[in-house]
Symmetry: C2
Subunit: 536 residues, 2 copies
């Protein structure tokens, strides 16, 4: 069975911060802490108290359906700041009535059939790492709720070494997926921050952003075909390397966030495990210069696998820098050939754009399979901080702070003003709710020839009992600023329930009507994750 | 006004074959020609005789709507083998009643409104180069027909040099589009074989396959946002470099083949004009070896811009080779850096896979903007033959032969057997209808890490009056073989009316129902290109 998942926050029990991580954290967030705040202890299972479930489980499904409070509490929320605060507050609002963990695809179909008969809602649940309210029950729907956890659909079913592809069950979590591919010397190389506790199905359903900072930024291009179970039957696309036959079926399932079916398995395009790597860190006086150097790298067609731009304050906060310089972390990798040549050109471009750059040589260390770069120094420190950030977040929230992130994407012509405007709107909102002094930092997580994906992190003092309301005001302001400036409601965090206001302003109205019509075809009762993406 | 389009065949009048091209053609197709066949002369406008149009044009639209027989005949068909035969036969079946050429987007909306009131069908028409019956009226629909020609929406409206993107009207043909981008030193680098007479809107509506043989094979990835007019109003997506907000709206419009709206303009991602190029030709004893060498190139992540594999017979037919060897044409290009390093690795891989290879050095000749490779020799001869092929096709058809192509895509694990099976099925069908001896050759037009896009060309003797029926039998057999083997009905030619049987076997049934529902939202009367992709 392995480790126990934290039911109130990120990851696993006993994976909390080490003593040195605690010291590092204290040093950085001390300025924002209200000295009078008493750190909140995590809830224990005995503190969970939920209303009685409104659903009885049919005998045929009883072996893998739970009405237990612990399971229900653990499936009530995703893992956003709001979710952790509510769990620390011992408040589980609108918990699912039943947590179903079907053993196979037929079990998923049985859950949908049962829910349809019982007039219940079904919320597909993969790793549960949503930070946008994507696995949470709707507030305005009185129907009973089944959380359908795909944890048992966790296998790589078939590997096609010739085409470098594999058929993988949707509930497979990142580490399990990579472990099963390793014997074939293959890797998906999809390493979102949520890697440890997110699933293939979740990545597809939310168009997750992964390891690659340029070129194949989202999971989308790695999907060869998809199978899903819907209330109207099975939806399955053909395995093809490329097709121009009508609108791509998979692209409708990609980003469907559980409203068009429960994704059960997919053929995924894989990579050989990289053995050549080289990286460099560019250092800049301004964030804008660093960003435009990153633009130059991708417009040059160098396609770095890593190309992250860290604002000085964010570099300091994550331990990647001392806060005096803005950093561009550029890395190249290949399973076939040395990558010093593109790195050298990247280094030139960094210098051409006003940066200084100390390249690190390439290496051929065996891949760790966890997205780790072979270089040490700033990139390694940042990578480590990146993967551990959610654990830090839980601690910061326990200490009474507001700590949340949001992200978007914008074309380069609007980039500079956009980042400034969004930051200003965020800071003003934080001030207006008394969450001040605060730190609002920015990094670029993904870079495109025509734009970039800015990612903002907020650390602010929270009101002892009013943090959620403070955050609601700030989140609304950020969403409005992003939308006003022409950005997207989300580059890779997904829409869920939390981003609906921004998303509703952004997608074509007629497309929303088309999506609603497409949903009605496969889910006439609107039982699949209702309220996510669209209303009935 | 420039050159006059051929109303009965490919391209422009006075662009027919040169004397030397005629000689080259005669030499190659002579073995297939029935000596008793009298070459058909192209029809003249005076030979056109059509039933009277069933629609009156409202005064407000009269200035740019034509009920003229010449315009109607020219808009009756696309440019497939069938289309040319029917035109040479002076047979224009189901011609449009009116050809509308709106001056702007408001005019397009006016056409849809008028058609809706008049109970007419509207067929969006860009360059008219469809080879799949995509711009042809349905046979089983009695409604009058308006062909909506976007020829006047032919401008680049706005250029964003910073993000390397441009807002381009959908009716802009390939050469006009590149000419308008040239002053900005930008290029779309989308060079399908139809480049000369196909439009941006057509490329988007059919998910055209372009210049790049790997990586960005279809137009899809170059679309930043789309605007379309539908009977239910305007459909417009937001300009974004990347978004993960729900299913991508543009991906529903991409491949919609005119059934979801008339695409009027799009923001397109552009490239700097390449100045570095290098190419090489690999020579192999078997087609399979050449194909698997191409696989190695893309699985290595070298992403050649050109990576075409020509069967020996196809190399001979196009003049690229003498027919004794199978060729792999590999080319690299960049606007930023020399490309000798990836070419050298490609050359190694060719040799590792049993080929011989004489690399040509890189060059920095200014780009011609027409997709021409700077190298000479086999690649150049092939490129020239590629672009001139449709003119040759018209001549071959005039000489009484069957000359058609079809294409698909398949994963590598099935590749070898698949190509053999499809070829055998095609040859058997040709024999069964007496179109024998025939030449069935194969090339790979696009290559993916997980598969390839085989493209078949047929040259066969045709029955003097029965070529269409012969072809119908052969086409059905090829479609069945492709489908049986797990391929797609089309990699980049689109579905139209001709590929419906194959497409219907391939797409998920529930997706077809979703597409139908999505159509109903924007086109409740099913007036837009009915019968293409789906039935009402």
């Amino acid at each position: 069975m392995g480790r126990l998942r934290r039911f109130w926050g990120w990851g696993y029990e006993h994976e909390g911060l080490s003593a040195s991580e605690q010291r590092s954290l204290a040093e950085r967030v001390q300025p924002f802490i209200d000295a009078s705040f008493v750190a909140r202890e995590p809830p224990t299972p005995s503190e969970i108290s939920l209303p009685a479930p409104r659903l009885d489980v049919p005998d045929a499904l009883a072996a893998w359906c739970s009405r237990d409070d612990f399971a229900r509490a653990g499936h009530t929320y995703g893992k956003s700041f709001r979710d952790v605060v509510r769990s620390l507050d011992r408040t589980w609002e609108h918990p699912p009535d039943v947590v179903a963990s079907p053993p196979d695809e037929a079990g998923v179909a049985a859950v949908l059939e049962w829910a349809s008969d019982a007039g219940a809602i079904v919320i597909p649940y993969g790793g549960g790492s949503s930070v946008v309210g994507g696995v949470e029950a709707p507030r305005d729907d009185d129907r009973p709720v089944v959380s359908c956890d795909l944890e048992h659909l966790n296998k790589v079913l078939e590997v096609d070494r010739v085409s470098r592809a594999a058929l993988i069950q949707a509930g497979t979590l990142g580490p399990d997926l990579e472990a099963q591919l390793r014997p074939f010397d293959l890797t998906l190389r999809h390493f979102p921050q949520s890697f440890e506790v997110s699933s293939l199905g979740g990545w597809i359903a939310t168009r997750a952003g992964g390891h690659f900072a340029s070129l194949h930024t989202h999971i989308d291009d790695f999907v060869e075909s998809v199978r899903a179970v819907t209330p109207a039957g099975q939806w399955e696309s053909r395995r093809l390397p490329g097709s121009g036959a009508g609108p791509a079926p998979d692209r409708l399932m990609l980003g469907s966030e559980g409203i068009l079916g429960v994704i059960t398995q997919a053929w995924m395009r894989l990579q050989d495990r990289p053995t050549f790597r080289a990286s460099a860190v560019g250092r800049f006086a301004t964030f804008g210069e660093a960003a435009h150097a990153a633009k130059a790298l991708v417009q040059a067609g160098l396609w770095p696998s890593n190309c992250r731009v860290l604002e000085a304050a964010e570099a300091w906060m994550t331990g990647a820098g001392d806060g005096s310089e803005h950093l561009l972390l550029a890395g190249f990798e290949s399973a076939d050939h040395p990558v010093e040549v593109p790195l050298a050109r990247a280094t030139e471009l960094v210098r051409d754009h006003g940066g200084t750059c100390a390249p690190k040589g390439g290496s051929s260390r065996p891949d760790e399979g966890d997205g780790k770069d072979a270089s040490d120094g700033a990139a390694d420190r940042w990578r480590s901080a990146f993967l551990r950030a959610p654990y830090f977040r839980d601690e910061i929230v326990r200490l009474g702070l507001i700590n949340e992130t949001f992200e978007t994407a914008i074309t380069w012509d609007r980039f500079d003003g956009f980042v400034d405007d969004v930051r200003r709107a965020t800071e003003e909102a934080l001030q207006s709710v008394g969450a001040w002094p605060a730190l609002v930092t920015c990094r670029l997580t993904h870079v495109y020839p025509d734009g970039a994906a800015p990612y903002f992190t907020i650390v602010a003092p929270g009101h002892p009992t009013g943090r959620l309301e403070q955050w609601r005001v700030v989140k609304t302001a950020t969403m409005e600023a992003v939308n006003r400036g022409g950005g997207t409601a989300t580059h890779h965090h997904a829409v869920g329930r939390d981003h609906r206001p921004g998303y509703d302003c952004e997608r074509p109205d007629l497309f929303a009507a088309q999506l609603r019509a497409a949903k009605r075809v496969v889910d006439p009762s609107f039982l699949l994750n209702p309220g996510v993406l669209i209303d009935p």
